[in-house]
């Protein structure tokens, strides 16, 4: 971390050592800091207010989720994944269930698939809303937080009505769904779609053309598509850098190939583009939800899965497009009821790598903006 020139294989533009180099400031941001979204600790090396380099210290929220998996059966482990990215618990569940289904070689019935897609996309919107609120709060706009939380509440209400839980839903089961959609589920979802569309315009009214917002986000935390790929960055961050990569289109899982939607991409790879990409993604999610609600077929919601799951010996990697990027599950089965090893590829963890690169030469205030724009959840980073 000491010499910025030898640090990264990527061509970094090292800020020139200016002003008082005798007085370089090392600041410890976090783990108790209002803008680190949990318990991230960032060690900043500052020259005045310019960031010369930074180092993330993680692990404050480590609970050993992957290790726990080795002592749980496949079914028992299902709720644990919700605790990783707790703002997008449904997506986590979807990835895990699909991975195990792939291992077991079963497929969830179409009705279950549709409901899964609806809930996952709702969760994507909820996750983006939470991101928007906190990101705007970090940049100093306090009002969007309350607007987004007001609207996110409606999504959580649907979750609550569906499965009884709001945050860590445990909505899906391996092989399909535990619960049939409740009476009026479709109506609720449709109402929500109509309710939230003008609300997204409302957020945009507050921010998109706001002069200060533009100045705070344009050109901040730039990262090129090449660097994104080199660092394994995925999700909206990658797409905002101009790489059209969305697993829902690239490796369609669930039944995403049945739906029409666009993959928004940015050009500059700066914070503003990431904001725009996420805003469009929310709208696209609504589009998917509308199509899915229209087309929910009748039928069973659970495939034939053995009561005691003993997947064949082998290994599987399955990844989905979680709100924050590629969420992958690598499962090794030894033929017993418990997985031999589960490795999660969490998008937040991988995306966090890019923080140093994105913050070099920026100001302290931009570090906050960049942490916000990366949309990390520490539960997922530390697992």
């Amino acid at each position: 971390m000491t010499d910025p020139n030898t640090l990264s294989p990527l061509d970094l533009e090292t800020p020139d050592k200016t002003f008082l180099d005798a007085n370089e400031l090392v600041i410890n941001m976090g783990p108790q800091h209002p803008a680190t979204h949990g318990v991230l600790r960032v060690i900043l090396r500052l020259d005045g207010e310019k960031v010369m380099g930074l180092e993330c210290v993680i692990g404050y929220l480590h609970r050993g989720v992957e290790k726990i998996a080795e002592n749980r059966t496949y079914t028992m482990f299902n709720p644990y994944v919700d605790r990783m990215d707790y703002v997008a618990a449904v997506s986590n569940g979807l990835g895990y269930c699909e991975a195990v289904e792939k291992l077991l070689n079963v497929e969830a019935p179409p009705r279950a698939q549709y409901i899964r897609v609806i809930l996952t996309e709702l969760n994507r919107i909820a996750s983006h809303q939470l991101w928007l609120g906190t990101h705007a709060l970090d940049i100093g706009a306090i009002t969007p937080l309350f607007y987004t939380f007001r609207d996110r509440e409606e999504i959580l209400k649907i979750f609550e009505k569906y499965c009884g839980a709001r945050l860590t839903t445990h909505a899906f089961r391996i092989g399909g769904l535990q619960y049939e959609a409740y009476e009026g589920f479709e109506k609720d979802v449709k109402n929500f779609v109509n309710f939230v569309k003008p609300k997204i315009d409302e957020y945009e009214e507050l921010l998109t053309t706001n002069r200060i917002w533009l100045e705070r986000t344009k050109g901040v935390g730039k990262i090129s598509g090449k660097d994104c790929i080199a660092l394994g960055v995925t999700g909206p961050v990658l797409r905002a850098s101009g790489v059209k990569w969305d697993l829902r289109k690239a490796q369609p899982y669930a039944n995403y190939k049945n739906f029409e939607f666009e993959i928004p991409t940015g050009e500059n790879g700066d914070t503003y583009d990431r904001y725009i990409v996420r805003m469009i993604e929310m709208r696209q999610s609504l589009r998917i939800i509308e199509q899915a609600v229209e087309g929910i077929p009748e039928g069973p919601i659970m495939a034939k899965v053995p009561k005691v799951m003993k997947p064949p010996v082998g290994e599987i990697y399955h990844s989905i497009e979680a709100p924050k990027g590629e969420l992958g599950y690598f499962i090794v089965s030894d033929g017993s009821t418990q997985p031999y090893r589960i490795r999660v590829r969490p998008p937040s963890f991988v995306n966090l790598q890019a923080l140093d690169l994105m913050c070099r030469g920026q100001l302290v205030a931009d570090v906050i903006a960049v942490i916000g724009t990366l949309d990390i959840v520490l539960g997922e980073v530390d697992r």
């Binding site: 002003f19 008082l20 180099d21 005798a22």
Partner: protein
Amino acid sequence: MDAMLHISTLHYLVLGAALFLLGVIGVLTRRNVVIVLMSIELILNAVNLNLVAFSRYWQGIHGPSALHGQVFAIFVITDAAAEAAVGLGILIAFFRNKETVNVDEVNLLKW
């Protein structure tokens, strides 16, 4: 006692002289450049006090608009601002090179 109670120009002059001497002592004895600069400010202020006191005295003789002393005081304040800016600029350059603010270590013409 009457001399103590009636504040005349002389009182201000004595005060100015005292401040001036304090400033001189500071400049001559301190090693910290910042404090030396502050002592120079003290000296300039002592001068200002004299100027304004004399301006008052002059007004008594030549009428209300004889404010030359006050105008001079304003010029001195301008001068002090310029002096402080350049002095502190030099100080920063000095500190960057030597990592000290000790005036005794300014013993090279070039480094």
